[in-house]
């Protein structure tokens, strides 16, 4: 999320250190400015690039969009069809629709307000719920599909280049022309003909950056669009890595955040640690002791969740001023390392709701990338969310995972990161960017340690 985006209550990161109100217009950089800059974490999906592909029906927009996505073969390039935004019909309109007398090719049939709102959410890095329209029922269905964290979004539809508010949000606009397949005519002829018979609402060609005749068969146009997207992805990756680097400032001079709880190294913990860390330990022993250590980590993590007083009566009739957890505690595993903590988690909370996030570091750039996401739907209502990972080195994936939780409405101070090992730099970055979260860690180790724990635990 860019610092200039409109903040909401769930957007805690823009309130880091309370200096979010400093305007870019201030010419001279103040200390607070620098502080705010370095403490800001922008995920790679911040400021998504949106590409509009418009064209009349049958012109091959969908085929072109699909071909682009296939060619790039990346999970963060997503197609959004404008057809999802057909308005719910009135009973009369519905009747007409079933008689094929309703004009779906009119911009009036589309809910542009909703579209603009969703696009703005996505631009702000938030999750957007996309309506599902059924052509069989001629109605919006109750369920929605959600889009979250695309780096590039392809908006495809007859009226993709129609609404000026949408145009404002687009980074690239292309207009696909229908291929008449009239063999005798040259390309110019097709275009001329298209302009001649263009319906009034297709005059949007004026706003297109590129016009793509012959859709998917047009290799030059395909290359242009994919090149544009690749360039955008490269820029995003560069910005993201720069954001991670900026968070390193002060890692060696500043003290560790008070919200980082390093497990007390009692003799008992050290003995278990020795067994777990020893390369010569058998797999059987490794798993047994790791599970045991993890259960203790979870027990300690639960001390970070809110409690409220609860007076109870004992079987002997005495009253006792005790405590109870204020609300539900759920967990989110950062795959695959976090899954190694699942046994320990269930030993302590057997019925814990457990979400999953798959973040993988790109082999070439080392940049963490979000591949998969599945969270409990009511996660924003839980009193605490334990974010579990086996190891944290540079903190890149932890930063991303926390960002994901924040984007799903989890309050920063309700997040408890639980990890077996963590590097100092990673801890610094994380607590700099998200000072309200707490961390429970068994061992603080040198930075950039290979992810050996999950390899040992899963034995591959």
């Amino acid at each position: 999320m860019s610092p200039t985006s409109t903040g909401t209550s769930s957007d805690a990161s823009s309130l880091v250190n309370g200096v979010n109100n400093i305007k870019l217009s201030d010419r001279s950089k103040t200390d607070a400015d620098i502080l705010s800059e370095k403490a800001h974490y922008a995920p790679p999906w911040a400021d998504v690039s949106i590409i509009g592909i418009a064209g009349s029906s049958g012109s091959g927009k969908s085929t072109l969009s699909q071909a682009i996505v296939n060619k790039l073969n990346l999970p963060w390039v997503v197609i959004l069809s404008i057809d999802s935004f057909y308005k719910n019909l009135t009973p009369e309109q519905s009747k007409a629709a079933f008689l094929n007398e309703y004009d779906f090719d009119s911009p009036d049939a589309l809910d542009f307000d909703a579209l603009v709102e969703r696009l703005r959410d996505l631009k702000a890095g938030k999750r957007a719920e996309i309506p599902v329209y059924s052509f069989e029922k001629h109605a919006r269905l109750d369920r929605t599909t959600s889009i979250y964290s695309p780096h590039v979004l392809i908006l495809e539809g007859i009226f993709a280049l129609y609404d000026p508010r949408v145009l404002e949000l687009l980074d690239m606009k292309s207009q696909v022309l229908r291929d008449q397949r009239d063999r005798g005519r040259d390309l110019e002829g097709i275009i001329k003909q298209w302009f001649k018979f263009v319906k009034p609402n297709f005059e949007k060609r004026k706003v297109a950056d590129i016009i793509v005749p012959r859709g998917v068969e047009n290799h030059v146009a395909m290359a242009m669009v994919t090149q544009f997207i690749q360039q955008k992805l490269l820029e995003k990756s560069k910005h993201h890595r720069a954001a991670l680097t900026r968070l390193e400032i002060g890692a060696h001079s500043e003290p560790m955040s008070k919200k980082v709880n390093v497990v007390k190294q009692s003799p008992q913990i050290r003995v278990m640690n020795t067994i777990v860390q020893n390369i010569d330990t058998s797999s059987e022993d490794f798993i047994f002791y790791f599970d045991r250590l993890t259960a203790l980590l979870i027990e300690q993590a639960l001390n970070q969740v809110p409690f409220v007083p609860a007076t109870i009566t004992t079987p002997q009739g005495c009253t006792y001023a005790g405590l109870r957890a204020k609300g539900e505690v759920s967990a989110v595993l950062v795959l695959r390392g976090g899954a190694a903590l699942e046994t320990g988690l269930h030993r302590v909370i057997p019925d814990c709701k457990t979400g999953r996030i798959l973040i993988q570091s790109n082999i070439r750039t080392g940049e963490p990338e979000l591949h998969y996401l599945s969270l409990p739907p009511d996660i924003d209502k839980h009193e605490a969310v334990l974010l579990l990972d086996a190891q944290m080195s540079s903190g890149g994936s932890a930063l991303m995972a926390v960002r994901v939780l924040l984007d799903h409405g989890v309050r920063q101070d309700r997040i408890v990161l639980v990890t077996f090992t963590a590097g100092k730099m990673g801890l610094h970055r994380l607590t700099k960017a998200f000072p309200e979260i707490s961390v429970v860690v068994a061992n603080v180790v040198p930075d950039l340690e290979e992810r050996w724990v999950e390899k040992r635990y899963f034995r591959c």
């Binding site: 008070k258 919200k259 709880n261 009692s266 003799p267 008992q268 050290r270 003995v271 640690n273 020795t274 860390q277 020893n278 390369i279 010569d280 047994f288 045991r292 259960a295 203790l296 027990e299 639960l302 001390n303 970070q304 409690f307 409220v308 007083p309 609860a310 109870i312 009566t313 004992t314 079987p315 002997q316 009739g317 005495c318 006792y320 001023a321 005790g322 405590l323 109870r324 957890a325 030993r347 302590v348 057997p350 707490s438 180790v445 040198p446 340690e449 290979e450 050996w452 390899k455 040992r456």
Partner: protein, 224 residues
């Protein structure tokens, strides 16, 4: 019943943010007593197991969680030797290894409820049993049965009984262990709840036996 109310929570929290609850009663002058840290989480677990309305399944589950914490804390008091190892990524870790063997001894039948928790922490641990019951005529505890590992004299003993009320049967259990050659300082007595009087009685008889408990409660004395 005197309550020891205190605010509980992590250090970084402001006092006003922490909820208050009754915490373990301090017992003056008993150096052998080890009480688990009174964390909000532990207090919440105790609140569940002490609540008369808690169902059996929950009782067993949450009691087990406390018992595991007791075992883990008990193990802290075993002797260790330095043990440096190499990790899978080639880093050295200056660690520790336990020295000596352990076994469990449960005072029947309540102590047997703690065996599962012990086994979850210490696989294939040897577990001896002692049956002590109140003699109907003398009203004194009486030893009815014991079955202990043959080599118990060479082991550290985790003595298990969930409640330390008067200390009568625990004292008798230690008598038995001592008669089999286990020195007092190698016995760790683990219990979930203790009364201050029971702690004092037990400690005055066996000051070298360490008592590891989750909670010392004044109220425990009033009714048995």
């Amino acid at each position: 019943m005197s309550d020891t109310k205190s605010s509980v929570g992590p250090d970084y929290q402001h006092e006003s943010q922490k909820p208050t609850a009754t915490v373990s009663t301090p017992v003056e002058g008993v150096g052998s007593l080890i009480v688990l840290p009174q964390t909000p989480q532990l207090i919440a677990l105790l609140s569940i197991i002490r609540n008369k309305d808690t169902n059996r399944g929950d009782f067993i589950f949450y009691a087990n969680r406390i018992i595991r914490l007791l075992v883990e804390e008990g193990l802290n008091h075993l002797p260790t030797v330095e043990h440096t190892v190499t990790t899978p990524v080639g880093r050295t870790y200056d660690g520790l290894a336990f020295q000596g063997k352990i076994c469990g001894v449960s005072i029947m039948r309540a102590g047997e409820a703690m065996e599962q928790g012990l086994r979850e922490c210490c696989r294939s641990v040897r577990i001896g049993k002692i049956l002590i019951q109140r003699d109907e005529e003398t009203a004194q505890p009486k030893l009815f049965y014991d079955k202990l590992p043959d080599d118990i004299a060479n082991r550290w003993v985790l003595l298990l009984d969930p409640m330390l009320a008067t200390g009568g049967s625990a004292i008798m259990a230690v008598d038995v262990l001592k008669s089999r050659g286990v020195p007092e300082e190698r016995i760790l007595f683990l219990n979930v709840l203790a009364s201050p009087q029971g702690v004092r009685n037990f400690a005055s008889k066996y000051p070298k036996v360490r008592i590891v408990t989750a909670f010392v409660d004044e109220g425990l004395n009033e009714k048995k």
